[in-house]
Symmetry: C2
Subunit: 292 residues, 2 copies
């Protein structure tokens, strides 16, 4: 079995159990707990927690068990962003991963509050996890910075405003780097913080993150054009309908595929400084998956 | 000049400058910066930051300058909660402090995102402030816990659901303790963390916080009944119109006034264990203000 598949088979169930358990413990109000749990446990692929864990596995594998709550905290932030993105005032989506979106199921007010509750809970979990205070405060910084108004929230604003005009490729790249890339990057850098790796290695991971994040979003754009609704668990061709700027809309489908290949290639080369001392195969597997 | 007035005269302008400056630095996207700044700088009384600073002033006055960013972080959380509470799906308010609410001014999507951006920025500011890592992570914990789904967000859910039925006095108390009390308490406890005071003193402050929080909300309920719109900067009698459970609606106006006096009295007595060693006059002044 390849490494990433083995890691996923072992750690995704562990993450899911931890998420469900901690939400039950920390959210006593039944309706709020139900709304928050519904979206957190809606079958996400846990890509961001897995990126954190893959870095820890690569550099400091014995810290994997302790790292699960920090990995889970990232998933709370990702989930809140999906709940709020789907709201009627935002993308107004009815379906997410084959199920009703949070506001369709629980109403708009509860969906807003479920998202609002997930954010501080993520930081609470980081403040409570089993690392020393210096590591914990660095984790808080990375997650807050990646999720914040310089990054993820700014990307969402740019995405919303971009619907009104055609962006240049550079503008689209900057948008994606903030909307999707920043949280993926935070996940990798949080893994670096936990592993205590030096600045040179952290810089390599940071470069890797920049290209991986773009590749991830280009792939998402391509799938919106080429998949069926059954495959995606949500309506397809949504981007076009919403006048979203995407790689296929700017470059055509073939151009988008070339851009994806180029980003994956750059991501792989960003890891070059690590190769002599580190087994990068686990990290490289994320690229292989995006290529297929 | 009495102490609290002097502190307010000196520190509120300092807080306001810091908030405006840091928002300009940390939120480069112009429209998002405008929306976030609009509500943060809308003339709030900064009561939560002042509570933190009053504790620091009482126990460790030399740390006041360093404490300003942590105090400012609380105001970001408070402001986000106001922006989201005012949304059409929530309280659907058009006016706040005499001005258009955030969504009336910037649209609903931007108001959601402005609130979403304020939350992580608060934790980023805490992670960046000039205390040691142990203090910083405790500050993160207190703020995340007070703002989270066990407290402030749960209180907002209970408030929304309470509109559909008459609560008992105990239920209303529990609602207020989470919706309003928890963040006021977090403010005081963050001051205790910064001041490094012992457990006995922290417990006294925590008891003080419980009664102060309730007194604060009872006063707010009373003002909604007795003030003019010009005095409050927003429409009055809103609670009644929204079928909100309030102290006046459950106990009558006189009963609510008695409850306020009782809570202020309990808050004052909660400080008794401190009196022998500490000048509590600054903290007691918050009670005097609520009594008038």
């Amino acid at each position: 079995m390849i490494k990433l598949a083995a890691m996923r088979a072992e750690l995704v169930p562990a993450l899911d159990s931890l998420l469900a358990l901690k939400l039950r413990q920390d959210v006593p109000a039944a309706d709020l707990q139900a709304a928050m749990t519904y979206s957190v446990m809606a079958g996400g692929k846990r890509i961001r927690p897995l990126l954190l864990l893959a870095v820890v596995q690569t550099f400091q594998a014995d810290l994997i068990p302790q790292s699960l709550p920090a990995a889970a905290a990232i998933e709370l932030i990702h989930t809140y962003s999906l709940i709020h993105d789907d709201l009627p005032a935002m993308d107004n989506d009815d379906l997410r991963r084959g199920h009703a979106t949070n506001h369709k199921k629980f109403g708009e007010a509860m969906a807003i509050l479920a998202g609002d509750g997930l954010q501080p809970l993520a930081f609470q979990w980081l403040s409570d996890c089993r690392f020393n205070d210096t590591i914990k405060i660095k984790l808080v910084h990375e997650l807050a910075f990646g999720a914040g108004p310089l990054n993820m929230v700014a990307g969402q604003v740019a995405d919303m405003q971009g619907e009104q005009r055609t962006l240049t490729l550079d503008e689209l790249k900057a948008l994606h780097q903030r909307k999707t890339g920043a949280l993926l990057k935070a996940s990798l850098l949080m893994g670096a913080v936990i592993s205590g790796i030096d600045e040179k290695r952290t810089t390599a991971l940071s470069d890797f993150a920049d290209h991986l994040g773009l590749a991830f979003q280009i792939k998402d754009d391509i799938l919106d054009v080429t998949s069926t609704a059954a495959q995606l668990g949500k309506p397809v061709h949504q981007d076009q309908a919403a006048n979203k700027n995407t790689y296929p809309s700017l470059l055509g489908l073939d151009g988008a595929r070339s851009a994806l290949t180029a980003e994956l290639d750059s991501a792989r080369h960003a890891l070059d400084p690590l190769v002599a001392s580190t087994d990068i195969s686990l990290l490289a597997e994320f690229l292989t998956e995006l290529a297929n």
